[in-house]
Amino acid sequence: MELVLALAIGVLGGGGVWLLLRPRTFQVIMGLSLLSHAVNLFIFCVGGLRRGADPVLRAGAALADYADPLPQALVLTAIVIGFATTALFLVVLLASRGLTGSDHVDGKDGAP
């Protein structure tokens, strides 16, 4: 499971960085989304990867068997904030497209 998760984070992060460096605004926003997925998975796994751990709400389980609830809370907050900022970025992106008539990040195509 560790390997799969590490590979998933690596692929998402790598793809995200590559897309972020592309000149089209749509690619940039896709890159940011992929990167935020990678970061969310990363936060999720810092609490330790275990299968079958009890949620913190179930009474009676031993303290050592609980899944760490804090990374889950963190990742929820990060998802919500990431969603909101991505939506905001999307609006700016559309405004830029409308005002400049180009989807280049600088508002004009740099190609000669």
């Binding site: 935020s36 609490g47 804090l70 900022t85 405004a95 400049t100």
Partner: protein, 514 residues
């Protein structure tokens, strides 16, 4: 009872913004009154907190009464209150310039500004890293809206870069926070300070990596070279009053770095971690000063000139944090206050002299041409006489230039002297920083002289109509700096006590985790 005061600076702007949104377009007078009320209230809260922490107590507010490691805490010590006070004063000073200008339909400037204030105050008060992230996002989301206020093509493009870079920095912030959480199991700053010396050697590298990634996120905000290329363009493209408010936003990054480097990696952090990252801050800060000065000399827009001034200011501060002695930090805090107020005033002046809003093209300064001697070519003694309002602006420009360059007799000089005097003889790095800050002051003088001569003496600059509101704001900001010149003693003693408190984090930890 006193501790409840801590929630005020966060709740008040939140409530004001929510009410302003409800009042909407039709009751604009009421919304403006609410904004004024909120800013005055913030100043009141900051002053009350100043009285409460002035004797060195650390106030802690436990939300819901939960003990610190499990619940969320707000903490106020001298540094937090200093930043709260600076923010409140800046917001209040900018009000006259803002209120008259933003009456057009669809303007959400006022609620956004209140959200920005809430995010700023929250970042200064929070006692744990994750809430710091949340408040950072609040202030950034508000700043996106403010930077793009009344959009044009250029502003949108600059805003796009600004948002993309800050979103990336936020992701780095999260990675750093989660690495630190993975190693220590807590995000409470005081608990972290206790745990850092006990981290076993095999995971210490991970802790350092987390702290470094976190640091990069703050350095993007504080615009250290080479992470600060976005700043001059974005700030120059934002409306002047907004850019003036943003002057305090880079200081949030500086504040967090100062707080965390002395709390987590101070002298008590054990031999393996003490002073972690200090050299990076020192050399990075020095490089930022150098880049800022070069940018200032080459800038052809007034707004960008102000943006490079922000870089010089935050570079000096970062370098001083890297040196990290109490006397240096006290001087750096004095410099922080004066440079924030002066840069804010300069952004407003830039907006008054070269407005972007209605002009097709931003008026440009002449390119720098040392061989051309264009400035001195014709010895025409009969200079055009300036109309009285422009003379007022010229006076303001002179005062702002003196403050930014750190020339006597104003408070800019006192602050810079307080920063430079303890740097002398504090090691090689500090000497380099000392030299760069002095040379940077010279560069600032040259750049400001060039600009001043071109605008006020050559007689070819087209002055836009003067707006009294913004002039009032400039006068208040510069007046405060002048006041700080006369009354330098009490603030300076407070700042020295602040620096001493930061270097003895045991009291902070004891207050949060009794």
């Amino acid at each position: 009872m006193n501790a409840h005061l801590l929630a005020g600076p966060i709740l008040l702007p939140l409530a004001a913004a929510a009410l302003q949104l409800l009042l909407g377009e039709r009751r604009r007078g009421a919304a403006s009154a609410l904004g004024v009320l909120s800013c005055v209230g913030l100043l009141g809260f900051a002053l009350a907190l100043l009285a409460a922490v002035g004797d060195g107590t650390t106030l802690v507010y436990r939300i819901g009464g939960w003990p610190a490691r499990f619940g969320i805490v707000l903490v106020a010590d001298r540094l937090s209150v200093l930043m709260l006070l600076l923010t409140a004063v800046l917001a209040l000073a900018l009000l006259p310039g803002v209120l008259g200008r933003w009456r057009r339909p669809g303007s959400a400037l006022q609620p956004l500004a209140q959200f920005l204030l809430m995010g700023l105050n929250g970042s200064f008060l929070t006692g744990d890293l994750f809430n710091l992230f949340v408040f950072f996002e609040v202030l950034l989301a508000a700043s996106y809206g403010l930077a793009l206020h009344r959009p044009g093509a250029q502003r949108i493009s600059a805003g796009l870069h600004y948002i993309a870079i800050n979103l990336l920095a936020s992701l780095l912030f999260l990675v750093g926070v989660s690495l630190i959480f993975g190693v220590t199991g807590t995000l409470n700053m005081a608990a972290l300070a206790q745990l850092v010396p006990q981290v076993p050697a095999n995971t210490r590298a991970l802790l350092h990596a987390g702290a470094a990634i976190l640091g990069v996120a703050f350095l993007v905000k504080a615009a250290m070279w080479p992470l600060g290329f976005w700043l001059p363009r974005s700030y120059a493209a934002a409306p002047p009053a907004v850019a003036a408010m943003f002057a305090v936003m880079t200081k949030v990054g500086v504040y967090v770095l100062l707080r965390l480097s002395l709390l987590l990696f101070g002298a008590g952090a054990g031999a393996a971690s003490a002073g972690f990252g200090g050299d990076w801050l020192l050399w990075g800060g020095a490089a930022t000063v150098a880049m800022g000065v070069v940018g200032m000399l080459g800038a052809r827009e007034l707004g960008r000139l102000a943006g490079y001034n922000v870089l010089v200011s935050s570079g000096s501060l970062l370098g001083a944090i890297g040196v990290g002695r109490p006397a240096v930090i006290a001087g750096a805090l004095a410099y922080l206050v004066v440079s924030t107020l002066a840069v804010a005033a300069f952004f407003l002046l830039a907006g008054l002299l070269a407005p972007r809003e209605d002009a097709e093209e931003v008026p440009l300064l002449e390119p720098y041409d040392p061989g051309g001697l264009a400035l001195y070519a014709d010895e025409d003694e009969s200079r055009p006489t300036l109309p009285a309002p422009v003379r007022l602006l010229a006076g303001g420009f002179l005062v702002a230039a003196l403050l930014l360059a750190g020339l006597p007799p104003l408070s800019g000089f006192l602050a810079k002297f307080a920063l430079l005097a303890p740097l002398a003889g504090a090691g090689t790095g500090a000497t380099v920083l000392f030299t760069l800050i002095v040379v940077g002051g010279l560069g600032t003088v040259i750049a400001m002289c060039r600009v001043g001569i071109q605008i006020f003496w050559e007689g070819e600059w087209v002055f836009p109509p003067i707006r009294t509101g913004a002039v009032t704001s400039v006068a208040i900001l510069l007046g405060l700096c002048l006041l700080l010149t006369v009354l330098a003693d009490a603030p300076m003693r407070y700042l020295q006590a602040t620096a001493a408190q930061l270097h003895a984090p045991a009291a902070y930890i004891r207050a949060v985790l009794p």
